[in-house]
């Protein structure tokens, strides 16, 4: 790979990593443009949507180059977005040695601010306090915590063989509804509604929704509509899981 190719690969790597970790499209296009001019390319044309990036630019020796990248799965990791943002700022400020850039990229790829144990803790905190937030008692909170831990476990296991977020959401929402209804059956003092709401907050596609607003306002209507529709579909799949379990359990209990 010659110098030009490796620079373009680096620009696309950063763009792809930004998109697949939950950055909004506007930021991806902006960063790609800045990096291109920092690497002495001219006339950068970039088009990004949630699932792909297309980049055309003119190299210093006047050849015109086009490359594309496909993004298949989006996992929210805003720490990587933040770190990539810092890196691209450094590159624009003059750090253009490919070796140190790739070292930085590797470091960002491996970095994880929280251990798997802490992620379980985060799920428990988020679900427990949302149950409290929506008016649950301490008992409800205590009940939604183990369900949240179970959801995290199932989610990790599912990610090994399933890339479809809708399927994820249907299964997870079915599990949480089942557990909450059984919980209420065993302990009638529990409010299964509030337990379910607290745990459902974990599944709601908040980031897709936020990004879609951002994209639409910033003029990327296509990406905005795509993310909005994605958010709606995922909310619907929560409903599917809930309705399916309720239809069966409502009869039995």
């Amino acid at each position: 790979m010659n110098e030009t190719d490796s620079k373009i690969a680096c620009i696309l790597d950063i763009g792809q990593m930004l998109l697949s970790n939950g950055a909004d499209v506007n930021r991806v296009e902006d960063t790609t443009m800045r990096l291109s001019s920092a690497f002495d390319f001219r006339d950068c044309q970039v088009h990004a949507i949630n699932s792909s990036i297309i980049l055309t630019l003119t190299a210093p020796d006047e050849t015109i180059i086009t490359r594309a990248r496909r993004i298949t799965r989006i996992d929210t990791d805003l720490d990587k977005v933040d770190a990539l943002n810092d890196l691209s700022r450094k590159i624009c400020a003059g750090m253009n040695d490919m070796k140190s850039i790739s070292v930085e990229m590797d470091r960002i790829r491996r970095a994880a601010p929280y251990s798997p144990f802490m992620m379980y803790f985060a799920y428990a905190v988020a679900a427990g306090f949302f149950t409290l937030f929506f008016g649950g008692t301490w008992m409800d909170m205590l009940c939604s915590v183990p369900i949240a831990l179970l959801l995290r476990f199932v989610k990790v296991e599912l990610s090994h063989f399933n890339d479809n977020k809708m399927v994820d959401n249907i299964i997870l929402s079915a599990i949480l509804t089942f557990c909450a209804l059984v919980g209420q059956h065993l302990f009638p003092l529990l409010h299964s509604d509030l337990v379910i709401i607290g745990d459902i907050m974990l599944l709601i596609p908040g980031l897709a929704f936020c990004n879609s607003i951002h994209d639409m306002v910033m003029g990327d209507t296509i990406s905005g509509v795509l993310s909005m529709f994605d958010a709606v579909l995922r909310a619907l799949s929560i409903a599917i899981g809930y309705v399916a379990v309720w239809a069966v359990m409502g009869r039995l209990l």
């Binding site: 800045r34 805003l78 306090f129 607003i213």
Partner: protein, 149 residues
């Protein structure tokens, strides 16, 4: 403790939980706590003054967007890192659930009531956020164009 205080505090702590789920690094967690507590304080206050759920949501979203734009500039990081956990308490999970419950229990009134509230909440959040972002993008995009060319 008063129920409002419990709500505000639990919104803040749940915001921290979500920030961790989104892999936001530990030193930015206080900003997430403040943001999500702030969003609920703003909601409760404006709802009290105008006596309207929609306006409360709108102003809360508006305030949180301003907060996250300012924070992002001070801490030098992407806006979504602050905005996403801060707006979480406004996301109408409760109304979504009651709407679904109305659907399965064949209670038409409940389904329509919470379904329309769900739509109302969503629209208000979008509106509140858009008002701020339009101004921000008008200012920053012009400046950016100068920098890149």
């Amino acid at each position: 403790m008063r129920p409002e205080l419990i709500q505000i505090l639990s919104a803040g702590v749940a915001g921290i939980g979500f920030a961790m789920i989104f892999h936001i690094r530990p030193r930015h967690l206080p900003a997430a706590f403040l943001g999500s507590a702030l969003s609920w304080v703003l909601y409760l206050l404006t709802k009290q003054v105008w006596n309207s759920n929609a306006i409360g949501m709108m102003f809360a979203a508006l305030g949180v967007t301003v907060y996250s734009e300012v924070c992002a500039r001070i801490l030098r990081m992407p806006v979504s890192v602050i905005y996403t956990p801060s707006v979480i308490p406004l996301i109408p999970g409760g109304h979504l659930y009651y709407c679904m419950r109305g659907f399965v229990t064949d209670s038409h009134a409940e389904f329509v009531k919470y379904g329309s509230m769900l739509l109302e909440d969503t629209l208000s959040i979008v509106l509140g956020t858009m008002v701020v972002l339009t101004f921000v993008s008008a200012i920053t995009q012009k400046r950016n164009r100068k920098n890149i060319r």
